[in-house]
Symmetry: D2
Subunit: 336 residues, 4 copies
Amino acid sequence: MIVVMEKNATPDQIQHMVDRVQEMGLKAHVITGTERTVVAAVGDERDTKAEALESGPGVAKVLPILAPYKVASRELKPEPTQIQVLDFKAGAGALGVIAGPCSVESEEQIMSSAVAVKKAGATALRGGAFKPRTSPYSFQGMKEEGLKILAQARAETGLAVVTEVMTSEEVDLVAKYADVLQIGARNMQNYRLLEAVGKSGKAVLLKRGASATIDEFLLAAEYVLNEGNPNVMLCERGIRTFETHTRFTLPLATIPYLHRKTHLPVIIDPSHGTGHAYMVPDMSVAAVAAGADGLIIEVHPTPETAASDGYQSLDFEQFEETMRRCKRVAEAIAVS
Amino acid sequence: MIVVMEKNATPDQIQHMVDRVQEMGLKAHVITGTERTVVAAVGDERDTKAEALESGPGVAKVLPILAPYKVASRELKPEPTQIQVLDFKAGAGALGVIAGPCSVESEEQIMSSAVAVKKAGATALRGGAFKPRTSPYSFQGMKEEGLKILAQARAETGLAVVTEVMTSEEVDLVAKYADVLQIGARNMQNYRLLEAVGKSGKAVLLKRGASATIDEFLLAAEYVLNEGNPNVMLCERGIRTFETHTRFTLPLATIPYLHRKTHLPVIIDPSHGTGHAYMVPDMSVAAVAAGADGLIIEVHPTPETAASDGYQSLDFEQFEETMRRCKRVAEAIAVS
Amino acid sequence: MIVVMEKNATPDQIQHMVDRVQEMGLKAHVITGTERTVVAAVGDERDTKAEALESGPGVAKVLPILAPYKVASRELKPEPTQIQVLDFKAGAGALGVIAGPCSVESEEQIMSSAVAVKKAGATALRGGAFKPRTSPYSFQGMKEEGLKILAQARAETGLAVVTEVMTSEEVDLVAKYADVLQIGARNMQNYRLLEAVGKSGKAVLLKRGASATIDEFLLAAEYVLNEGNPNVMLCERGIRTFETHTRFTLPLATIPYLHRKTHLPVIIDPSHGTGHAYMVPDMSVAAVAAGADGLIIEVHPTPETAASDGYQSLDFEQFEETMRRCKRVAEAIAVS
Amino acid sequence: MIVVMEKNATPDQIQHMVDRVQEMGLKAHVITGTERTVVAAVGDERDTKAEALESGPGVAKVLPILAPYKVASRELKPEPTQIQVLDFKAGAGALGVIAGPCSVESEEQIMSSAVAVKKAGATALRGGAFKPRTSPYSFQGMKEEGLKILAQARAETGLAVVTEVMTSEEVDLVAKYADVLQIGARNMQNYRLLEAVGKSGKAVLLKRGASATIDEFLLAAEYVLNEGNPNVMLCERGIRTFETHTRFTLPLATIPYLHRKTHLPVIIDPSHGTGHAYMVPDMSVAAVAAGADGLIIEVHPTPETAASDGYQSLDFEQFEETMRRCKRVAEAIAVS
């Protein structure tokens, strides 16, 4: 941590900061510049309340040096983590594809989707039984009945089931049926929920909040990892920006950045990341080209009548063609 | 709702949309323009799955006409709502000031803060007992012990207690001690929690998510109102933008916009909204001048050693001076 | 255009809007809904001052229906435009690669770069002679001397020269040496400059402003096209968002969106779009996979000592490897 | 400047950075932490190419310490600058109000506006003669004829004339008629134009770009100041964010931040900053309460028929009432 003093900071103010840094168990180095004095604090600043120093007398700003996360860090575990559930594998060279409808609407809808996405190459089935909806007037999901349908689809196809859990009380119920617990973007900083899925031991698909920084994203993962659950997948699903021609802006540079900073697999969601079905195929292949460890794609038998997210869902044929293109690109980049 | 067709949409595609609109229980009007045909759908589009129409054949885009919220709307209830709890009043001409530390740290810290903020003009005391922290390594709050200290401060000063509740399981516990339940920005779309505080019947301070649109914000309020709880205050606490010289960007135009759209009181949080103590006084008076119905301000006996948010907390003297300035501005704008 | 009236708009106010719409030469249709009345205006709204209607009595909002650009539109010219200059081709199936240093620093630097990028597969050379620099204290470019070095590199390698022009007075000078005139992101809405490069007849590489919407981007292109110059390439170089782990956020969904809306070629700049050299290879292949018509990449003999943008420049070897990967992905997606 | 090394940086890599820092004329201090080594570079980093060090071997990141601007800095000139032109004064305790239509449309429109805004308390008249328009199909301004009308209004009312100049070639022409040259938000980084208005010696109203950081804003001012022209006013006119209920987001915290960092006066534009006439009064008084040194407000005899920006223009009566409220608030905050 670097404490930058104001230009006119007094010797007493500088000494005060040195004392404060040392009280925190860190070692202080004073560097006197031509225009500024800085106090460098050496040691693990993550366990301190260093930010509060900013309100100290004569302090201009405080710059952290260390990343705030630990267990998620690639410095701690240099080799990439691979998550495997049934035939679904993501990370360390494996590309895992999760596909299916936004919401579970009926047995027939899920069964036909499961068969179709499996045939096209997916190894996991998505489908929401508990739906977080922006409006209380929107369809809220089939709840446990939906979970049962998903489990039945797994029984018939062997696909791993990925489904969202919205609250810590429901973790046990959802974990009874699901293989991967999804934390939605709106819950990325619901810390009690993160702890609960951490304790469940189930694999977790953690979606990035629409305005979360990557450090906040990795700290959310850290809440899960800290409970002793190492099976966390990080899902980039687009961020909120000034753009309106897409529902969110999908920043694929998240992939090389996360691969440099963490060992956890990176999954891309081109459906929420664009909000328009016609953009999903191009962004899926782009994600694969950029080195994604997996994709999660909304697929529906008849998008136009979907209970939710129809505008961004592929139909079966579009999904099959997208998978063909992804496969060719995956082969192209695998050549060394 | 207006369904705009592609330039080259066929008569069959247009008819298909007319049929779909009518299936949704709406009335369809076709308007044939020089370059585009549009299908106007008349009726309450909020109960439909209209967005899915965007993936229909020949559709360019779908434009909603009606705001998605109902109960929060000023059209439904034109007169402003005033929230009153003990001596705290906000809305319909009353300016309510909530002040106190970010976290409850000790009895002494809370008692001295309560006395100081009351003397300066606050009518409610804030203090976090359950703390949502970005990092699992940060101080997580004193929990029930903290709630008891807050209740004791109320007993001694008469200040209303405002404190955050993070999860639906804890609503009963927190409601036992608090007068106003605060929903943090990270939980603005935690729908189970919104329903739970709605059922509690307690007054609710709902913070805007850092990247929530105003429609999303009002729909979150709608989750609470829908449970029959009319006592919701809307708190603007800054949005995430590209700016880095402030922690968040505080958009005070939220005040006139919300006053036009909703009858609920609007509270401004200049502490989180700027992230720097030295900006808080100016932004507090600006909020009052813009017509805010209340303020929530972080105040700490010694900001430099605060367990959290020290960089944005005022000390007692700074808070007192800020209140003096706010009072003068409130009087100036009250003159008609 | 759709004029949405307030809920309580009077018949007189509605009639007033009908009159105003007709004064603008448009045809008015009144649609009386259950909650709102809307006035639909049929005709070419682009030549009107329709936005001002928003301040009319009883008006809630005005929704445009037509895109504001014309000549750039795919509706006007359905087949994609290909830009060709010397051996450089972009669009309609051709992938054009522009590479070279941020700034022209010396003859030796440019010559070695030109030879290296040509060998790796680029067909155009970039290099700035007039440099727009955020700080007046930064290196401002070699000016005409730099242009001469670029022309010399073209003479020796056959690469097309792409270089920035910053002001309308300098268009003639730069056009004397360059094959493609680049308009920088900061000048995207410098309308006198857009008109001047339009008149020059030279091919234009127009960079998207860091906070420009796509409509604003296409309207900037329209300024050039309107001068009778059809040779415009649209360059996505990243937008400004709250993200700080990249210098800008590179939204590749711009590619499918622009391909749907316009016939002009789309070039991606992964160097400015990320701001970190190590991300450039992955984002280059991702752009190719997403269907980009070209790339513009910063390459420098020794990035660490570059006069500008060293942090985001590839060295020769990194660029060569990136081109190899791009070629394989381009082949993979070309299979139909 | 602080160069943070990667965790596994070798002693050779650290020594290399020490050498590079010293080559730049700075002094290097190596601080060996428990997890990281940092190289602190002491001296004036603003004249170096320090950012390029980021691509050096073993470097994790480079953190600047000093602000990049100099002449604009409050450290250089602690007392606030007051700009005075005719009766218009802004800064150092004076609140200067500029008002008038977006575009000059006719003599009558300007004359009636000038008389009305003067009567309400404005001391400067705004009006665009050269209009930068997003679309080439929009009204582009009356050009020199418009300037003459503005000069005539000054002759009759004594109001200072504030008008935009769009390109360096037109600076002499505009300076012949205007008292204050306005640089629009889209031209904030048009460096040739900034130099030209710097050389003109006229007072300059520099608008912040919609996605410019404050450092970029102050560096743009620095381009003007560097030409020996000290009369620069900084105008906050709103930034582009994800919000859509306002055209831009107006961050009033810019006022206390700029007052801390620079001696230049800060003017607020609530018209562009909100994009809706009904928000302008509240945001005007809020700006005054937050300590703004001036306001620039769009006022039109009949906003509904304005050639541009009608949706955000006040009529005469609304402006007069706004001035009344501003005056009361200015008096309230002036009490010490």
